[in-house]
Symmetry: D2
Subunit: 281 residues, 4 copies
């Protein structure tokens, strides 16, 4: 499959769904040329939406990054994150009592806006386990892995409760050469050890696509065949988009390097409609 | 968790999502008292929708069963099946060429209405593998397992294509004492052997819930908190409903027997809001 | 990793363990040059042993193949098969009552030599399930997959018993272009559906290596560092040999083609000491 | 299955294989009555051997515990640990260069006795990744989980090397109410993230049973049918013993509580020959 120019294919669609990390930005900042791409979308009257597996901060905080980086088009109402969906779930299904969490305080603050009390696992006294109504895995940072992961499995042995994984990613890139274990990977470890079924939010699951799809209808009706999902990861962005029923484009600015793209597509059976060097291409 | 009367809880909701097999009907026919329950729903102005993991026949054929059984309220437009979603996918993402399938001819006929050509794996000549654009697993019946499953793995070695599993169930009950391997179980075997990622449709995935949710809005807006999902299987009906964000009730007329219910809930971590003996209760 | 001549490395060892299919023979018969290799081993006083994942017939029947093919050195006492180990297990751990099986009658005959009664799943009346003390999966042929796999899961729901998988392979090559699902693959499907732990025999498990290792001591003591395991499959032959603690050589005459060898080694992390074109090289 | 007296069944065997933790000792010290049991074994001329999934210290250090606790019969030569097998592997298969490890320094010291250089992951400079010939997971303590697990996955991305997990356990009890994640659980997380095949040592694998079996022959020949494996864990002790072909007894002084024993046996399909309250019974 030969890479094609992103703009040449984008113009065939009425809306684009973008993954964030590895597509619009990376560890060095905005991907070069992204601003021109958004100008192109505006000129051609192509709508867009950002679908990101991220529960470390609120859409407002995510939008602020783009504003400062010179991309004011990406406002909070153009972003759906896996963390937002996890929050919706907690609001509708748990709605009272205490939610224990793994992650930094800034992400907990974001849950607390809903009136639910939150407590980091590190501060929880297991003798009060009966007061905990849910556990949410928000981020891989902000806690002591050894102490708090062990505490978590003992909490889940003491009390049966819903466990929400607010980001399905297993790793994320920290620079050109290194990755780190994401909270989704930690969730798989815990799920395997306690043998319970956790509730995951984020691509490739259909929910995040439905959220974006419903939103984009607000500016006029839009069919699935008019939408293109653009991402750097086969297992989340491309598989999720394929399954949701929209066309998909794999970009080579993130998790999938050019020399691996064909091999991984062949090996996984996850086939994008297009491959592009970059969204700036 | 003590079983409660279904009608007593149903009256708190504005809409009910029902699983079909094990909830409304079983190997012996309609669950006794189901007709009275639907009269109760009508009297109380409670909307309903049927969500079924079934790709063996069309919604029209499914509805005909209820009509003949004396439940004319369940018309085709009140039913969403995993097979319908698989069909939507084929229409929007494959849309030309030949689709090979595992299942009986009556299920293929149902795919063919969309203009795609279909061919049973058993009739396919592997020298023409290049003409096949997708494979769909429809049902566990209507083919020679040994010959056609071996043929399928060789087809997938020859050509990279989307593989759609139109029903996620791994087994289904055939009478009081026996189960049979469903096409979802066969899909897992094939997926494991060819090491590709198949595309599955059906509960617990969010898509089938979204379809029902969107439909039910047509008779007036409805929030998730006003909807109850009723099913007999923790892993599909209850987990899917929980994750989608609606309340859930487990009934004991199908896969989950009373004496196992508590143990399985504890072991899986999948917790329904209610347990009811039957929807007729 | 550059392929090296098999003979040049074989001469550094005092004993060679060979996989059979894909190494000594394939769907066309003996691999060309194998006879000369065995003459070379004899001249250089290098002992050998055959380790094969096969439960379809007895070592005597396997040896007869080599005799007829002009390789009389490979006698029954030089062969250990996964089927032999399964038989040992049945003899020592079950030792009375009836053993139900999946596979052809010729493989059952081989179990029966131990005085245990056997019955093919197809002939079993499930009302007599209480008389069955074990189930053994022998081969992928000789039964009706649809009828007998469904019968098997119902047998295992009725009665808790040891299930023995007498061959861990998931597929096997039937000619240059095609593979077939092996009984090990069928075992994984059943294990997943009934959620029980089956007992598997064959490479990469240590038992088959221990059996060969113990036998080869009978002609004089032999250390692990003096033994080379030769196979065509990374996941069974090479991983098993590595883990058992002997050196390993991957040959390219079977499951692993030259163009895939490096990629699969990199992807799996299973690293042979050597790669050789063929044992005849 | 009714619990039976341990001594009444022990007297039918010529040798007993014991798991250590949960059988002979627990977080409070020796299980009460264990000394009398070992006196009983001596009087009845029953041999014994200890098979333990432990890589945190040497057999000598393990034996010293029993000596101090008043059980001098359990000398280092009566113990086989998963760590010893991992060490054997490193000696025979890696044998030069540097081995990186996760675990405390005291466990590394034990590897170093073989002349291999060792370095804790925490001290490793990833720019020197090329000098590392193997990675060994020894224990869950003695390192910074967040920093060092992330470093480990980046090491394994940089260089393809054998990874040895020196203890297959996923959790271990720390007191009556709590468990901790063992290095085997951490191994599964890493294996899943880097998608490589790690090499595991410990029950239920056959190797540790073979080691004990070979050793016990030194005081006179002994058949498998004369040996009883005693353990507190179905998935390791009982499954491993069953598969190796010796009889098995589950004791209720460790991981498996009386009220769960029948349910877990039914659910797993792992069936011991006997259940005993305790080895002191």
């Amino acid at each position: 499959m030969q890479p094609v120019s992103f703009r040449s294919i984008a113009s065939r669609y009425k809306a684009i769904f973008f993954d964030a990390y590895g597509v619009l930005k990376n560890y060095k900042g905005l991907v070069p040329g992204v601003k021109e791409t958004f100008a192109f979308l505006r000129e051609n009257d192509i709508r867009f939406y950002i679908l990101t597996n991220d529960a470390s901060r609120s859409p407002e905080a995510l939008a602020e990054y783009y504003f400062r980086a010179g991309l004011p088009e990406i406002t909070a109402d153009k972003i759906v994150s896996s963390g937002m969906l996890a929050l919706d779930f907690l609001r509708s299904k748990v709605n009272h009592g205490t939610v224990a969490y793994l992650g930094p305080k800034r992400s907990a603050h974001y849950v607390e806006t809903e009136g639910l009390k939150t407590i980091p696992i590190g501060d929880l006294n297991l003798e009060h386990a009966a007061s905990v109504n849910a556990l949410v895995l928000l981020d891989d940072e902000g806690f002591d892995w050894e102490r708090d992961l062990n505490k978590t499995i003992n909490l889940l042995r003491l009390r049966n409760m819903p466990v929400i994984v607010a980001n399905t990613d297993t790793t994320y890139p920290v620079n050109r050469d290194s990755v780190a274990i994401a909270i989704g990977g930690i969730g798989e470890l815990l799920e395997r050890i306690v043998r319970k079924t956790f509730i995951r939010f984020g691509k490739p699951d259909a929910q995040i696509f439905h959220f974006a799809y419903d939103h984009i209808q607000q500016d006029g009706p839009m069919k699935k065949e008019d939408i293109l999902m653009v991402g750097d990861t086969l297992e989340t962005d491309i598989w999720g988009g394929n399954k949701f029923g929209v066309d998909t484009a794999l970009v080579l600015t993130g998790n999938t390097r050019r020399e691996k793209a064909e091999i991984w597509i062949e090996a996984s059976g996850i086939i994008p409609n297009y491959i592009c060097e970059s969204v700036a291409d």
